[in-house]
Symmetry: C2
Subunit: 389 residues, 2 copies
Amino acid sequence: MTRATVVGAGMTEFGQHDRPLTELFADAAIPALADAGVGTDEIDALYFGNAMGGQTETDTHLAPAIGTHLGLGGVPCQRFEDACATSSTAFKQAVEAVEAGVHDTVLVGGVERCTPATGLDTAAMTEVFASATHRQYEQPTGLTFPGVFALFTKRHMHEYGTTEEQLAAVAVKNHRHGKANPYAHFGKDVTVEEVLEGPTVADPFRLLDCCPFSDGASAVVVTNPERAETVAGEPVAVAGVGHRTGTVPLAEKESLTATRPAREAATEAYDQAGVDPDAIDLAEVHDCFTGAEVLATEALGLIEDGRGGPAAAAGRTERGGEIPVNPSGGLKAKGHPIGATGTGQIAELTEQLRGAAGDRQVENATRGVAHNLGGDAATTVVTVMEAVA
Amino acid sequence: MTRATVVGAGMTEFGQHDRPLTELFADAAIPALADAGVGTDEIDALYFGNAMGGQTETDTHLAPAIGTHLGLGGVPCQRFEDACATSSTAFKQAVEAVEAGVHDTVLVGGVERCTPATGLDTAAMTEVFASATHRQYEQPTGLTFPGVFALFTKRHMHEYGTTEEQLAAVAVKNHRHGKANPYAHFGKDVTVEEVLEGPTVADPFRLLDCCPFSDGASAVVVTNPERAETVAGEPVAVAGVGHRTGTVPLAEKESLTATRPAREAATEAYDQAGVDPDAIDLAEVHDCFTGAEVLATEALGLIEDGRGGPAAAAGRTERGGEIPVNPSGGLKAKGHPIGATGTGQIAELTEQLRGAAGDRQVENATRGVAHNLGGDAATTVVTVMEAVA
């Protein structure tokens, strides 16, 4: 099978942006097209992700507005929504469309605004986010996402002895990583003490265990290997994309710590790529909360089951460590503009595997994995990318 | 290329339903699976459409909840949103996935609740719908969808002399068709006089020129021809699917009456099927307003440009006429549960092309076309289906 390649990537800074979703997306898409050296007239389709525009700013059916704004000239434009994995399912579909020969070159990306720039405060935005939990069995209980991931993490602490200090080590690492990333929402170091002294959001998470609400956009250009040879953008190969959906609500899960869909999606992606986890040089994982990174590193086979906490505390997942995790700063420090997070991870892997990640570059990075979750660890997309020799 | 086939179809009655979106969707999906003779363990993916659940009932990220409710066992489940064309883009993607060999068998469908069963009255729901118009250039003017399609239609009246009586004839025909459809929201005849005497919604549309707000769900099972031979459901072939996106807002369109994306999507679908419009035996078109059907019959090449109004008034588009349009009753009488409308059209074509449409059967139907719009005639999907000899 012809595998797809990424030949261009672009991002806005993740943070607070007071401008319309169409324009904010263009701030990522135009740099992605420029990076690829591809004109809008060479784009065959737009696969676009936005999770909550209807609820946050009365803006749905965004794909045609964005297609018009970018001047894509009537090609098929469509929107995907799978909560925090929104632009990863768009990316998966684009990769499949290119591999099948349905399209030669696809612009893929996502955009979201989650900060008070929308006019919604933290309490209101938390409720909007919670629309992605189970409508009948979770929302009536008042469960929101800090609680969902706190339950996963408490169980991990119970089963494996993971500690709050180990969770804090994840935050400290990702803040340190994010400080080197010009796109990151947060640019300062934090200490384990500062994390542990923060106010409790949902036990065991303190404020600094939680990713921020961010505004931002990300975009990549996906094309086939033949076309990739003719454009200016340095290609990075998409070696595998796995997608699995977990059962919801939480009570339906066979295990709260093993996150089955992540394991199955990873197996699918690794199998497509023909590699084992030990062939991975860096990972961008969905650390919406510090505990989520611990579970993710285990589900991806990068760290032994139950050892995610100690591994973070020992520096094994540090840039320069055994397996660098979230060299971008992750959702924790880079930020989490829901619909933009998935292709933001792909953009980061693209830069890293080109050796173009500047101060945050992982040395000798030839193969990376991205892991993006939606909802109660339900939608899970795992992508393996490789430098092109 | 291997073309996909539909081997099962199911629908709820379109009307008012006071139950959760997950359960309402199952009321269409379970009959579709039973019709196909396919078990949930044989479904490789769920491609699912819902347009407004976040805004209407705080319910997003629905695909995993539906996958769990149906017992799909962790296969990839994802949501699409493209306004009123939501489940048609899901269907297009499913067809492409089957044709590419990514999946063997996909469950595709959509669900929506738009009636006061959601707790929202007509005014509030009209505002929710309007989130699919242009956020910067249309919403601030107070333009809602009756106004959007009134502008299209007024221009058609200006260019071609289309009359209010001709528009009313579309409503009369579709109500008559709908009376024979057990799934239809409306089951009674109306007269031209009744239409013309109704209250004005947006000039030239009277109340009975407008489709209703409906609740409902629809689902189809898509598989490859090899698999189709082994299942119980009678197959209907997907001969072509075209998808084009128009520019928005209205002011960006080169013509308000020619609906360019519909013409281009139709050409793409006909080309894939290797047929001309005169080979089409029946059409299900997006008659959200009577004027929209007039434009659609012309864009699809079924009626000469400018003659859509007189054709309806002369009975050319009647069941039993030259080219039956909306034998189901269309959006006008069958109803319009946004996310369910696209695959509802596919379900209708499936029944018609099997010769199993009962009282509303079009005689000698061997090839049909479906036309589904989203937004300001922006997202447009045209599908050609054929009976399998």
